[in-house]
């Protein structure tokens, strides 16, 4: 059977109505939307065809039609009008973005929050490291009251620092030498290798040095390990409850638990695709089979990608969410993607 232009038109109407109302749509309602060019009986025939072809479903014999995942897919691929954001919308996003954005890893956590409050769905945010990161540069700085600041720059350009309290005092004048030691022995290697090398040094350096080295290396190793383990931030979980499909508390609970617990099982976009849409059963994970996910990636630094995913019912507003999400991702890439590029300045309110 052929998918005529009229069938597509009707499918589009049904999908959009269902996205809007979450109610099955009947033939009469379709006729109204088509401004009466056609009778309800004709529409009924078309609806029957679309159902047979697998684009629509019937909750029960005498209800209207709702889109099937296949129907959503066709809608997303062909029928949906790509939305562009209005000037006000982009302005608002820019304002949010420029507001306060500090280090790279804060970007990831904040990206999820921002997107969630912006699109009105729950989100998750992940950092996607290309390859394991290592320490690239160490620096120790003395502070007055005998504390030591350890600064570690990682191969992915993150810079982390922390105040350490040496167990035995180390004089400030020795810190450059210690920094040098760290830079020669502990850069470019993984966490376990760091520990191994530390052991080798244990009887080559003085006790107070070793204790400090130990703290620094432990800190650096924790940082390196942290970047291996995917950290997932979820935000706006409560938004789920806005939707009638999650009025069933158990469903909502399951999905929320899944999002906040099963780090790593969340979808990531296929390479190259800026925004990917996964509809219902297209999701690999069971917990998501009745929901949809829109996920986008953006560049931060030269060695990292950030991911933001939006989770919602299968009838989520694909056009609106995808538009906002890709604008976000593009803006973030522009701000953090390459070096020597500054955030677009925006007047603060």
């Amino acid at each position: 059977m052929e998918l005529t232009k009229r069938k597509k038109e009707i499918l589009k109407i049904v999908v959009e109505s269902y996205i809007d109302t979450a109610e099955p749509m009947g033939s009469k309602a379709v006729v109204e939307k088509m401004s009466g060019k056609i009778s309800s009986a004709t529409v009924r025939n078309e609806l029957a065809d679309l159902t047979e072809m697998g684009y629509l479903e019937q909750p029960h014999t005498s209800a209207g039609r709702i889109p099937s995942p296949k129907g959503y897919r066709l809608y997303v691929n062909e029928l949906m009008e790509r939305r562009t954001l209005s000037a006000e919308e982009t302005a608002e996003i820019n304002r949010t973005l420029s507001d306060r954005m500090s280090g790279m890893d804060e970007v990831i956590a904040r990206a999820g929050q921002m997107v969630s409050s912006f699109v009105g769905y729950p989100t998750y945010a992940v950092a996607d490291h290309t390859g394991a990161s290592t320490a690239r540069r160490f620096e120790l700085l003395g502070v007055e009251d005998s504390g030591v600041i350890a600064v570690v720059m990682l191969s992915d350009d993150r810079v982390k620092s922390r105040l350490l309290q040496p167990e035995l005092p180390v004089s400030a004048s020795q810190l450059p030498e210690l920094s040098h030691l760290l830079n020669t022995h502990f850069t470019g290697i993984g966490a376990s290798e760091m520990n191994a090398r530390l052991m080798n040094l244990s009887d080559q350096v003085q006790g107070n040095w070793f204790l400090l080295l130990n703290q620094v290396v432990e800190y650096a190793a924790a940082l390196v390990r942290e970047s291996e383990r995917q950290q997932v931030f979820t935000d706006g979980a409560s938004q789920l409850l806005r939707f009638p499909e999650y009025r069933d508390v158990d469903k909502a609970h399951d999905l929320m638990r899944f999002m906040s617990e099963s780090k790593s099982a969340l979808p990531v976009p296929a390479d190259g695709a800026p925004v990917q849409i996964l509809i219902g059963p297209e999701n690999v994970n069971d917990a998501l089979k009745e929901s949809s996910v829109i996920v986008a990636s953006y560049d931060i630094g030269d060695h990292m990608r950030g991911l933001v995913g939006v989770v919602g019912p299968t009838r989520m507003d694909y056009a609106a969410v995808a538009a906002r999400l890709s604008y976000f991702a593009e803006s973030l890439s522009a701000m953090f993607g390459r070096k020597n590029q500054l955030p677009p300045k925006e007047e603060k309110e």
Copy 2:
């Protein structure tokens, strides 16, 4: 009317049963719990008295009794057996704590997560700064490919750092001088004062210096501002849905929204109290009037307190949560509260 010992015993039984089952308790069930020392008619009289005195409530005339907020309060103050944690429980908490704990501000965020997964209720976590923090020390470090690492130590002992890309190159040899400039002009002052001083310097230093200074100061000002604004982390919101009192999606939604949005309106413990319990209407905020909050504070660094609050239904398991929460708070204080003290070492699995 007097609150006899027997009345208290009965009240305790009712409260604990209700905490356990969320079902109103009738006179017969009470008799069973008291192992038959007394008849149900007697218990009925006592229950009627307790109701009249305001410790119990009746959902409707022919239902059992449930505790009123006043009843919970009495229970918490007098009747509840303070729980102590078993060796396994403390061991598990210690394991979680020692696992990975980096900088101070990560502590706050992670504390909420840990407590939430541990006690099985949603939590919020806040940093409570005593007084506004300022920058205490600046340090600029050059990296090979012309980037500059800015290290800022704040008056609250937090150390933050970030990689900057100067718009115009600044030679590495000039960085110590610039650091000195920063340390003399921009320490010990608030964010707006920083900007003012920066303006004053604008025509006293070379253009490329100024551009870099600008970036550093903007970064530092953002850090200072960040510590003024209370940042609230919430975790485990989905746990709410475990409880029958939040099966009403709207109630759950309201509370979740409140927790994730209304930063700052969340309860903080009165000074001195290590753990504070707020029952139902004792909460100032409307959104919490039908829930209870247990909040604890712990010390991190010398100038900061962290707060962790546990949110749940009024029938939450006060004894268990309070015990766990205070153990957490104590452990965190011990680990981060004073300087020169190290986390209790625990073998990592």
